[in-house]
Symmetry: C2
Subunit: 141 residues, 2 copies
């Protein structure tokens, strides 16, 4: 087991269709985690969410969150990000990222379709700052 | 997108080497999520953890936790479990599950090796009751 460099961790997060598991705190204090499609933009994890989603609700109360991505087969590895989230309803931005994110997870040929589907009024754009990275590569050999 | 039956959700959790992302609440209230190797035993999610791990520490303060498992490629799917965790340091039980869990994630031919490696004093056994399941199959087509 070894730690990754920051560049290696960012590349790990960005590989293929790996989803993020985004963890927020519920009103009653319980931790909640849900899979998200995301891209990295500068020093942020960026994703769309519907304005009534559980995570949107949680972030309005407490913007602190964590995100984990892992490799689910030998040699196993993971990257955990801690940060603070800001939420925007700017429709141009929402649509721009819905297109990029659709391209990552459904293929470039369907990017525009997903941009149109998810780039709509009511969708939000969440930016999670990458404040801290905890990582482990080669967990099991 | 559709909900899974309970049996379908349990089968989804148990498939191959899918890891769980286990979410707990830190002392400062931030949600924390980390990948775990687990098996299902009756109505519980069962896994080993070292006694000084972050999740062991969090569970001693607040036993409520969530676990999410997802399919990271089209058609995408996930199962989220909410429950309450109990922690045991019974070494026989710790070793028994370390063997089962090693077999799931590293292959049956290495189960005993992992049982011996992780079935040691200081390792704990966590049981998360499956109190509530939230699931989605065929998220994107």
């Amino acid at each position: 087991m070894r730690e990754m460099s920051r560049d290696e961790a960012i590349a790990f997060l960005s590989e293929g269709t790996r989803t993020g598991k985004f963890a927020t705190t519920k009103a009653d204090g319980r931790a909640h985690a849900t899979p998200i499609w995301f891209v990295i933009d500068g020093d942020d994890i960026v994703f769309n969410t519907w304005h009534t989603s559980a995570k949107a609700k949680h972030l309005r109360r407490d913007p602190r969150a964590s995100l984990v991505v892992d490799l689910q087969e030998p040699p196993y590895a993971y990257v955990l990000v801690e940060g603070s989230a800001t939420v925007s309803d700017d429709l141009d931005e929402v649509r721009q990222f819905a297109t990029r994110i659709g391209g990552r997870y459904m293929g470039q040929d369907r990017a525009e379709e997903y941009g149109a589907r998810n780039g709509v009024e009511g969708e939000l754009l969440v930016r999670l700052s990458i404040d801290r990275i905890i990582s482990a590569a080669d967990v099991a050999g």
